[in-house]
Structure formats: C-alpha cells, structure tokens
C-alpha cells in the first residue's frame, strides 16, 4: 500500500467518526445515540488498525481488541440502563430525560 492509501484509510476512519458524531448530535432516541457512539468507537478502532499497519506493529491491533472489549462492556451496561430508563420514564427520548438542569 502506498502512503497516500494509508492516509486515505485514516481519512475513512475520520469520515466514519464524523458520521457517528453527527448522528449522536441529531438523534433523540437513546438507542440510536448508543449505536452512533459504537460507530465512533469502531472508527477509532479502524484508525488504530491503520496506524498499526503503517508501523507494521501488532500494537494497533491489540488496541483494537481492547476497544472491542470496552465497546462490548459498554453496550451491555448501556442497554441494561436503557431498559431501566424505559421502565422508569416510559420513553427513550433523551430530550425528555431532563429532570435536572440549571
């Protein structure tokens, strides 16, 4: 792969990251927000893979595995919490969850 390609791959990670980001910003549904964050984490993982293959080191991939673990744990806790919120508030609208402000 050429260096330009490498940067293109990093750019892809950046684009995906931004797409996740924009989604977090526009979505009101908490599940969607969670999914969007997953997209961002995935993009970060992609960036690590790119960096790892740039330096021909396994470290990038190791980091990807760690990210994967973290994403899984986070999603599981997040989903449990979402269940709980739906139970309490009867909605998934994040804007509705603003009991606390000021």
């Amino acid at each position: 792969m050429t260096p330009a390609h490498m940067e293109a791959a990093l750019m892809l990670a950046g684009v995906l990251f931004m797409l996740g980001l924009i989604s977090v910003l526009i979505r009101r549904n908490i599940i969607f927000m969670l999914i969007s964050v997953e997209i961002m984490l995935n993009a970060a993982g992609l960036a690590f893979i790119v960096a790892g293959s740039k330096w021909v080191q396994p470290d990038g991939q190791v980091m990807f595995i760690f990210i994967l673990t973290m994403a899984a744990a986070e999603v599981s806790v997040g989903l449990a919490l979402i269940l709980q919120i739906y139970h309490q508030l009867k909605t998934l609208d994040s804007d509705a969850a603003n009991l606390m402000k000021g």
Partner: protein, 486 residues
C-alpha cells in the same frame, strides 16, 4: 512478568482478589455487612501493601506501568479516599431498599481503574484503566435505579463518557499513527528534539485531552458534572469528585511531565483558555444555585480550573501544589458529600438549600463539619484548602503565570459568595422546627460520624500544620526524575 512485578502490583492484585472473593460470597450469601467488611479490609490491605513499595527509584513494568513515588502516593490517596467513601456508603445504603452488595464490587473495580490510571505509562493501560473506572461508574451512578434522576444521570454519563472516549481513542490512534509508539517515554523520545509538534500529533494529543478533560469535568467538557452529581447517590458523587478526577489528574500530570508538554505554546494556550473558562463557568454557574449537590459540582469545575493553574506551572513546585491541593480537596469533598449523605433520608438526598436551613441549631456538629469543609473549599485559613490554594498561587507566581493567578484570585472571590451562602443558610433560624430524621442504628451512625470527625480533624491539622504533608510529597517526588528535573 516476574515475581517482583507481582509484588509491585500487589495493591491492584489485592483489589482484584477482593472483588473475586466478594462475588463468591455474594453467590453464597448476600449480606451487606460482610461485603462491606471485605471491601474495607481490601482497601486497608492494599494500602498496607504500599508500605512495601516506598522506593526512591521508579520500578518499570514494561511497557505499561511504572511504580514510583508519585504513583504510590496517588494510589495511597485513592485507596484511602475509597475507604472513606465506602465507610460513608455503608450507612447510606443501609437505609435503602436497593441490593447493596454489587455496589461494593463496582466501587472496588472503579478504584482499581483509578489506580491503574495513575501508574500508566502507556496508552493501552491508560485506556483500560480509564474504561474500568468508567464502566464501573456507568453502573454506580444509576445504582439507585428506581430513581428517575439516577437513571437520567447514568445515561448522560454513559453516552458522554463513551463519546469522549471515542475522541480520546481517535486521538491516541493519531498519535500512534504519527509517532509509532504508544508509550509515554517513546513519545517523549520521538518529540524530544522538536521545537514544534507535527500537526497530526498535536491533534492527537488535543483529542486525548478531550477524553481527559471530560473526566476532569473542565470547560467545555463540564456539562455532565452538575447533572451527574445531582443524580448519583451521595457517596458515588463523592467518589466521582475525588477518586475519578484525582486518578485522571495523576495521569495527566505524569503524561505531561514525561513528554514535557509545556514547551509548546499551543498546549499552553489550550490549557490557559480551559483553565480560565473553567474557573469562571464553574463559579458563575454556582452563584445563585439552590441545589447543594449542584453547587458542589460547579465548584468542582472551578477547582479543577485552579488546579490547572498549578499544572501549567509545569515544574516540581506545580506538581507538589497539585498533589497537596488534591489531598485537601479529597478531604474536603469526601467530607462535604459525607455530610450530604448523612443528612439524606430514605427517599431523597439532602440536596436543596432549604434542607440545610438552621442546621447549626439542629445538628451543630454536622453543621460545623460542613462549614469547615466549605471554608476549606473557599480557601480560608485554618483549613487544608487555604494551604492548598496558597500552594497553587505560589506555584503560579513562581512560574509568573500572572494572568492565571489573577483570574484565580478573582474567582476565589466569586466562589466565596456561594460557599458562604450555604453557611449562612445553616446559621439561619429555621422557621419551622424540623423533626430530625429517624436516626439509624447507633453503630452505623457512629461509623459515618466518626469518618466525618476524622476528616474534619485532618482538615484542620493539615491546615494548621502542613509541614508533614509537604515533606511527604516532596520526598515522594524525589523518585520521579521527570518531575525533579524541572
């Protein structure tokens, strides 16, 4: 991995072990008290094991950890704070219907994460420590899951923390992409000769700062703080205010000392802006706030701003000041939230200012302790907070950060207003005689009260005779060449 490695990681191992044992015990027999005792003992044991690690030289576990005086001190700080939090938690959770045992598991895990953070020298361990802390907090914050506010706080924290973690990870990736190493020392080597940082690297560090800044709750990543402080159970709030922030701060200090980040005007500019806006935003937001937990949250934003002033001094005195201030701040925060926890009843936490009206005449000792804590936050003499603030200002002036120091002073004044306001409320004559809430069983009550008393005494001791602590910090930093060199 050698045997000595394990020896040096003993505190972490003890905590891990404690979690496992607790889980087994829970599986067999759910009992609040036993789990509490195990937790407390594990903190004590881990703390005790630190005495074995008092070294004057750093011990490096390639590639992820270094155990040096700085780390040991911070771990000690974190462990003691967690111990105090757990002591406060016992009384707090005893009167709640929720299952209590998992709380301690999560508390220990979060503590573990924080401990990992402060001895990290590698992005991987940084990330993992941070995430262990975060994931535990995701569950701790909404621990009282039947409270809508808790759940709301939980989801806010979760989404935002994950969001900022993503930034941080992307930043790490960029740094890695740019330098080919994820170790702090490697990074330091690769930029050692540079006058200016390459843009990609700089961006990477900037994005890492987003993640770190989020955890520290500094502007503009501060917005979760009041909501989470308000929604989380009081002991958890105390934990977030202290251990979580302290751990991350320890990491930040280590990272910047290692790579000598203060050479670069860009980073200085970023931190200056962040520090000043943090101070102002925190204090102004707290100004006429009615909710005590939110006041403390906003005040924590500004306090982190103060700490950044010393941080930017970027020399040994700055690190000493940060460390000292953190000790003072830990004592104070745990004390303050301890009081909140103690005054909370079964249905809700004591968080409205009205709940504190005339407290001095109802429960004079509690009020006195709370006043002492608030005065310490305000930086009034005879308290640790005063010496801490003095230290920070001294560090700032030593490095001639006049702008920041003057801002700090202005903000101290704004801050005074709301701290004193709480005290004034406590001194007011209550209009209607409130019934003192039903007291817990004396033994439990004594545990909390004793903790608070210890904290108050400590506060005054450090405030009146700071020499011991200053000496300790200076001794500890000797083993960190990166800091002493400056």
């Amino acid at each position: 991995m050698s045997q000595t490695d394990f020896l040096y990681l003993m505190p972490l191992l003890i905590l891990t072990f404690a979690v496992l044992v607790s889980m087994l015990v829970i599986a067999a027999w759910r009992n609040h008290k036993i789990i509490y005792v195990i937790t407390a003992l594990s903190f004590i044991a881990a703390f005790g094991s630190l005495f074995e690690l008092r070294t004057t030289t750093a011990y490096v576990i390639e590639p992820m950890f270094v155990i040096d005086g700085f780390g040991v001190f911070y771990i000690g700080m974190i462990l003691l704070t967690s111990l105090l939090v757990s002591m406060l938690s016992y009384a707090y959770f005893e009167q709640r219907e929720e299952r209590k045992e998992e709380y301690y598991l999560l508390l220990v895990l979060a503590t573990l994460g924080a401990c990992v953070l402060v001895i990290s020298t590698h992005f991987a361990s940084l990330f993992l420590g941070l995430e262990i802390l975060s994931i535990s907090l995701y569950a701790l914050i909404p621990y009282l899951r039947t409270r809508p506010r808790s759940d709301e706080a939980g989801i806010k924290y979760l989404i935002l923390a994950a969001f900022s973690s993503a930034f941080m990870l992307f930043g790490m990736a960029l740094v890695y992409f740019s330098t080919g190493t994820m170790m702090f020392s490697g990074l330091a080597q690769s930029i050692a000769g540079m006058q200016e940082l390459p843009l990609l690297l700089l961006t990477g560090i900037g994005m890492i700062l987003i993640g770190v800044g989020f955890k520290l709750g500094i502007v503009p990543f501060h917005m979760w703080t009041p909501d989470v402080y308000e929604g989380a159970p009081a002991p958890v709030t105390a934990f977030i205010a202290t251990v979580s922030k302290g751990g991350v701060l320890g990491l930040l200090v280590r990272f910047f000392m290692e790579v000598d980040g203060f050479r670069y005007p860009v980073l200085i500019t970023i931190f200056t802006v962040v520090a000043i806006t943090s101070m102002f935003a925190g204090n102004l937001l707290a100004l006429i706030q009615k909710n005590v937990k939110r006041i403390l949250a906003y005040s924590s934003i500004s306090h982190l701003g103060y700490i950044l002033v010393a941080f930017m001094a970027g020399n040994q005195m700055g690190v000493e000041a940060i460390t000292f201030y953190l000790v003072a701040y830990f004592i104070t925060s745990v004390g303050a939230f301890g009081v909140v926890a103690m005054l909370s009843d079964k249905d809700s936490d004591a968080e409205l200012l009205d709940d504190y009206k005339g407290l001095l005449w109802r429960r004079p000792w509690t009020a006195a302790v709370f006043s002492a804590m608030l005065l310490s936050l305000a930086g009034i003499p005879l308290t640790a907070g005063f010496v801490g603030k003095f230290y920070i200002i001294a560090a700032g002036i030593n490095d001639q950060l006049w702008l920041l120091v003057v801002m700090l002073v202005l903000n101290s004044v704004i801050g005074l207003y709301y701290y004193i306001k709480i005290i004034a409320v406590m001194f007011q004559q209550p209009e209607t005689e409130r019934e003192p809430g039903t007291r817990l069983r004396p033994s439990i009550y004594v545990a909390s009260a004793g903790t608070l008393a210890v904290l108050a005494l400590l506060l005054v001791y450090v405030g009146v005779y700071p020499t011991g602590l200053v000496q300790l910090i200076q001794n500890v930093l000797v083993s960190v060449p990166e800091i002493v060199a400056k």
